[in-house]
Homo-oligomer: 188 residues x 2
């Protein structure tokens, strides 16, 4: 196979999309983010990377808490809007219906099927972005996605982002293999 060098700035994989929520100057603000990940098991922690210029970053620093909200595909326009426009230029506190949980000060999105509340644990300064690591204090799902106490994640119809060069939102596709199972055939 011939290998071609790419510009190393390319983000060459499909990314799930979340909305990071924080109060900034007393008002809820939400920002679309695709640079995030789970990072620790016990206690459970997630990270989000925000460019240094982001308004939401000010709110996380100010309050020490934030939320991660997972939109379904029916919220794609609202989500995209929250990625296009800074809270510095537009008041995004009315885009969604907001609710609060255990942390009292981490705004969550009622319309999102799955939401997490996080308490800031670590901040790592890189060169043009800052990684916020938060401990998940509580998680919520809409009742309609719950069966026997388990959440149906594909049923929430979360979606994916392909950044440069094509800038697309993709739906989730069907299951094609069983995880932590299909590789067993290589075990002798």
């Amino acid at each position: 196979m011939t290998k071609i060098r790419l510009d190393p700035h390319v983000t060459a994989y499909p990314m799930p999309v979340c909305l990071v929520g924080a109060k900034v100057k007393g008002k809820p603000n939400f920002m679309a983010v695709a640079w995030f990940s789970k990072v620790n098991s016990e206690p459970p922690m997630m990270m989000v990377s925000l460019a240094n210029v982001q308004y939401t970053a000010e709110g996380i620093k100010e309050n020490g808490v934030f939320s991660i909200n997972f939109p379904g595909k029916g919220l794609v326009s609202e989500t995209d809007f929250c990625g296009l426009v800074s809270g510095r230029k537009a008041d995004k506190s009315h885009v969604f219906k907001v609710y609060y949980g255990e942390l009292k000060n981490a705004p969550m999105i009622n319309e999102c099927p799955i939401c997490f509340e996080l308490k800031l644990r670590e901040t790592i300064e890189l060169t043009d972005a800052r990684v916020f690591v938060g401990e998940i204090i509580a998680a919520y799902a809409d009742e309609e996605y719950m069966t026997d106490g388990k959440v149906d994640i594909p049923g929430t119809e979360q979606f994916l982002l392909i950044e440069s060069p094509t800038y697309q939102y993709l739906e989730l596709g069907p299951q094609f293999a069983k995880a932590f199972d299909v590789g067993n055939k290589f075990l002798k």
Copy 2:
């Protein structure tokens, strides 16, 4: 909408899957990882989170370099295997055909349509995992996915993991909206 509390340990979103490569004790080793993200733009950086017990983590510390390789769905069994079995118990150096690039010591996977070479920049110790932040030094794509110097990311047929409770690998679905565009309708 009625909100139900979930166990906060649930990883409630679809995750892209990569294979992290490092030499451990002189041999290439690969591990399936879904806890990773882009984290910085200039220079481009990515992070991977590895549990403290991981064999691959020893190789990253030892060499200060690693690779991130994106498999297509045709490699799902090999990828799953690399998540099921530790390099401590099985020699995974022969699962794939290995190649090297600019860093000389970060093993990449010939069968993966997209591969990155990274130089370790930061290590963040959490409680049961360690976050490795690497600078992307070079990126490669198979020639067949390139058109006019641009890579066709959906064409590489990368796949997604849903962890607990259903443990599924999902295909990518079709495009349903244009990113950084569909939200413009909210701009007045």
